[in-house]
């Protein structure tokens, strides 16, 4: 199991009600499952549309259960971009 922080941005931050929170999980999938269990359905709705970074690296289309976490990795949760 790895320990680190999961940081939320924009709509995800509002839905989570926190800027960041600790996680204790082996993979990105586990960390997100834990977050979903901690927050309400509105958070889950936003999370479903987010993209993710692990230590600044975009996860992209990879299967979250194959994204293994190491101690100190920071997960970032980015809602759909809305620039311009």
């Amino acid at each position: 199991m790895a320990r680190g922080l999961i940081r939320y941005w924009a709509a995800a931050r509002d839905a989570a009600g926190v800027v960041e929170e600790p996680y204790d999980a082996a993979t990105l999938a586990d960390a997100l499952d834990f977050a979903r269990a901690t927050h309400d359905t509105a958070f889950t709705t936003v999370l479903a549309r987010c993209s993710f970074l692990v230590d600044d690296a975009p996860v992209g289309g990879r299967d979250h259960s194959t994204v293994e976490l190491s101690d100190g990795n920071t997960i970032e949760v980015l809602p759909p971009f809305a620039g311009g």
Binding site: A10, A11, F81, A82, G83, G84
Partner: protein, 140 residues
Amino acid sequence: MSVRLAEIRTTPLSVDEVLGAVSDPSYGGVAVFLGTVRNDDHGRAVVSLDYSAHPSATDVLRRVVEGVAAQSPGAALAAVHRVGELAIGDVAVVVGAAAAHRGEALSAARLLIDTIKAEVPLWKRQTFVDGEQEWVGACE
């Protein structure tokens, strides 16, 4: 690689700055696109937009402009985006593309704004006239 300007700011944007950044005597056409804050979203009256950026946004913006420049070797490009609280009519983004001929300038400007909107980690929260707020694109 002629990326002349790629910045994110909190201060009001200037079209003249973008024009100046891409102008050159060898160019015959300059295309500029401004994204402005609309007073309406799907029929609901909007009073303001609050733009926020991920810390990586400026780097991503620069990479986006460089990517478009690579696809438009004859064009000089510039892009500047504003973050913070913006009122109706304020300019949120200005992109500019100059080239020898109008076709390349117009295509590069279009590709640039399309790619910025797709790839740069920026967000905006709308405040409606009834005070309600909503993150654009977050839910629907």
